[in-house]
C-alpha cells in the first residue's frame, strides 16, 4: 500500500509518501514525480517519514529522474527517512546523488540556502 499526497507552499512542493513502495505501485510514484516535472515545479521535497519500505523498483523511480532534475535545474531532496530506508539508499549509493536530510527543518534550510 502506498499513499501519495501533495502539498504546495509558495514555490515548493512536498510529496508525502506513506506506506511501502514496491514493484506493484512504483508506477504511481513515477507518475506523481513526472507530473510535478511537467508542471514545471522547481523545488520538490519528498516527505519520507511515513515510508516503511522501498524496493529496488522504487529506487529505480528516483534514479530515473536524476538526469531530468539536473537538466531542468530542479532542487530535489528527500527528508524524514527511517534509518532502515536510509540504509537502502546508502547501500545502493543513491545517497551520493540525491540530497537526503534528516528532518523537515534541515530540508527547508537547504532550500533557503540554495
Amino acid at each position: 500500500m502506498l499513499e501519495i499526497s501533495i502539498q504546495t507552499e509558495k514555490d515548493q512542493t512536498t510529496l508525502i509518501l506513506k506506506g511501502q513502495v514496491d514493484a506493484s505501485n512504483s508506477v504511481e510514484l513515477d507518475e506523481a514525480i513526472g507530473e510535478l516535472l511537467n508542471k514545471n515545479h522547481k523545488k520538490i521535497l519528498v516527505d519520507g517519514s511515513g515510508l516503511e519500505y522501498i524496493s529496488s523498483a522504487g529506487l529505480g523511480v528516483f534514479m530515473s529522474y536524476l538526469e531530468d532534475f539536473e537538466e531542468q535545474k530542479v532542487l530535489f531532496l528527500i527528508y524524514g527517512l527511517s534509518e532502515k530506508v536510509i540504509n537502502v539508499f546508502h547501500i545502493l549509493g543513491l545517497d551520493q546523488l540525491i540530497t537526503i536530510k534528516a528532518n523537515k527543518e534541515e530540508a527547508l534550510q537547504t532550500i533557503h540556502e540554495a
Partner: protein, 687 residues
Amino acid sequence: MFKLPNINIGKITLLVTILTWLGMLFVDLLRLFGTINQMNLGIAPEITWSLEIMFFILIYIFISRSLAQNENNNFIHLIWRGASTGLMALGTGLLIQFFYYLLNNTRLSKDPLLANFFYHVNFGMTTIFLISCTLLWKHLILYQKNKNVVQQWQIYEVMLTVSMFFIYFNQNSFDFTFLFGLLFLLIFSIIISVNLKWIPYLTFKDKWKSILFFAIIIISSLGLFLQMLSYSEKGFILVNLTDNLFLLGLFGFVFIYALFSFLVTLFNLPTSSVFEQKLTEAINFQKLSQSIQPGQSESQVLDILMDSCMSAAYVDAAWLEVKDENNHFQILHQRFITNKDRKDIKELLKEKKPFSDYLKNNRQIDLEHIHGPLDHEIFNSALIIPIRVNKELLGNIYLLKEVKNGFNKEMLNIISTFVGQASISLENHRLLNEALRTERYKEELKIAQRVQRSLLPSELHHNGSFNIVGFSEAADEVGGDYYETYQFNEHRFAMIIGDVSGKGTSAAFNMAQMKGIFHSLAQLDLSPKEFLIRANSALSKCLAKNHFITTTYYLLDTDKHEITFSRAGHCPTLYFKSENGKSAYLKADGLGLGIVRSGKFENYLKEKTINYQPGDVLVMYTDGIIEAKDQAGEEFGYDRLREILDISYQKTPNEIKEIIIDEVYSFVGASSLTDDDYSLLVVKFDK
C-alpha cells in the same frame, strides 16, 4: 466338440404356429366329418380349445419377438404395421367372399368342410391382426411410462390370459358370466386407452398419416367383427372359435384405442404447430448452450441465436450488427432483407421513439429489448435486442415483422432467454480462449525458467585452498539474481554476485545481459573497479531508464591469500575473520550499475583489498535474504544473518548455506510465498 446348431427361434415359432393351426383345422374337420357321417370319434371340444389357446400364445410370442427385433420403432412405422395387417386380414375375408360369389350356389358353396376351412383361415388372420395391434398399442401406451401405467398394463395382460382360459369354464356358451367378463375387459380397455402421450411428439405431417392409418385399423376391425358375426349367424359352424372372451376383449381394446388415438390426433392437429415450435425452441436453446466448443467461432453462436430468435417470433426479416474495435457497427448476418431496405429502416428507427433513445446513446445497460411500430411500406413492427457480453455491448439484433404489434410477451420472453444463453455461451467461449492463452504463456514461462536456470553455473570454480557453494531461488518463474565464477589460472579466480532491479521477466533479461558482460570482461583480467566501470558503460546502453543492477566483483589470489573487490551498490559482503572470532560486513562505498550513465561513474567506486586466513568465511547474498519478512512484517535484517555466521562458521560451506536458508525460511514462515529472489554464495578458505 459338441456344438449346438444355430436355432432360429423366430422361424421355429412360426413353424410351430402353423402346425398348431393345421392341427386345429384337422381336429375340427375330423369332428365335423364325424358329425356329418354320424360317427362318434370321441374328440372332446377341449382339444380344440387347448389348440386355440396354444395358437394365441404362439402368435403373441412370434409377434412380440418380431417387434423387438425391429429397430425402426417410430410411431408411424408401428401404426402402419397395424394398419397393413388389418388390410391383409380384411382383404383375405373379402377374397373368400368373392370366391363364394363366384361359386354362386353350386354344390361346393354349400360344402361344410370347405366353409369350415375358410372359417379357420379367417380366424387365423383376425387373430394375427388383433394380437399384433394389441402389442403395438402396448408400445404406444408404455411410451414415457411411469410405474402406474406399467402396473395397469400388467393387470390387463393377466386379465387377458385369464380370459383365454375362460372357455373351459363356460363351455363356449354365451351366458351372463361371459357378458360380465366382456364388460369388465372393455371398461379396463377404456381406462388404459387414455395413455396417449406419444401423440404430441408427431409432426404435423405424421399426424395426418396416423389419422389415415387409424381409420384403416378402425375399418378393418369393424369389418372383421361383422364378418365374424356373420359366421356365427350362418350356423354351419360346429366348433365356434370366435365366440371367445379373449378374442372379443381384444376386438374391444383394439377398436377403443384406435378410436381414441384417431380422435385425439385429429383434435391435436390445430395445436401441433405450437408444440413443434416449443420443441424447436428447446432444441435451439440446447444448441446455444452447447455452442461453446473451442473450434466454433463467435459468429456461429450468433448465427444460431439469429435463427432461434427468428423462428421464436415468426419474424419476416432480420439482421445482426456487431461493434468493431472502432465502435462502428458491422453487419454480420442479414436475412430476407435487401441492403437498401435495411439502411432505410435503420434511418427510420433512428428518428423514431422508443428506438431513437437507445440507438443514439448505447448507455442503457439494463435494457433487454425495445419494440414498437414502424412506418415502412413492408414492415410494420420492429424489435431491437442488444447482445451483451460481460456488460459490454457486443451488437444488436434487429427483427422485423410485416404485421403490426407483431411481438407479444411470450416471444419477448423466449427471445430474452435465447439472448441470455447466447451471452453466456460467448462469455464462456472467450474465457476458454483466454484460459488457453494463459496456459500457453505458462508453458513459455516454464521454458524461460529452464533457460534461466541454465544461466546460473552448476559448478563453481575453486582449487584446493577454498571451497564455494551457491544457491538461488526466484520469487516468480524467472528471477533477476546472478552469480558466477571465473578461473584465470591455478591460483587466480574472479567471483561475481548481482541483483537486477525489479523481478520477473524483465529482471531475467537484464540478468542474462549481465552474464554476457561478465564473460566478456572477465577474460580481460581487469581490476574490480575497472571491471565495474566497463560493465556500467556497457549496461548504460541497454538498461531501461529506471533499471539498475547491483553487483560486487571479487578477485581472489590463493597464492597471495588476497581478496580484492569493488562494490557497485550491492549488499555489503559478510566476512568471518577467524582471527577475531566474529564476522562483520565489509564496508566500501559504491554505486549501482546503470544509475549514473556517464564518465562520472568511476568517482563513486572504491576498491578494497583484504588478506584472508584459513578458517575465514566469505558470504555473498542478495537483498532478498535481508528483506525477507516474517508474518508481523519484520525484516530478517543484517544482524540475524551475521549472528548465524558467528555460530556456524566452523561448519562446511554447504552446511553454512543450508543453515542460513533454513533460518530464513523458518523466519518467513512455511506458509507464505517468497516475494523476492534469494541468492547465496558461501566461500570458506581452508589453507
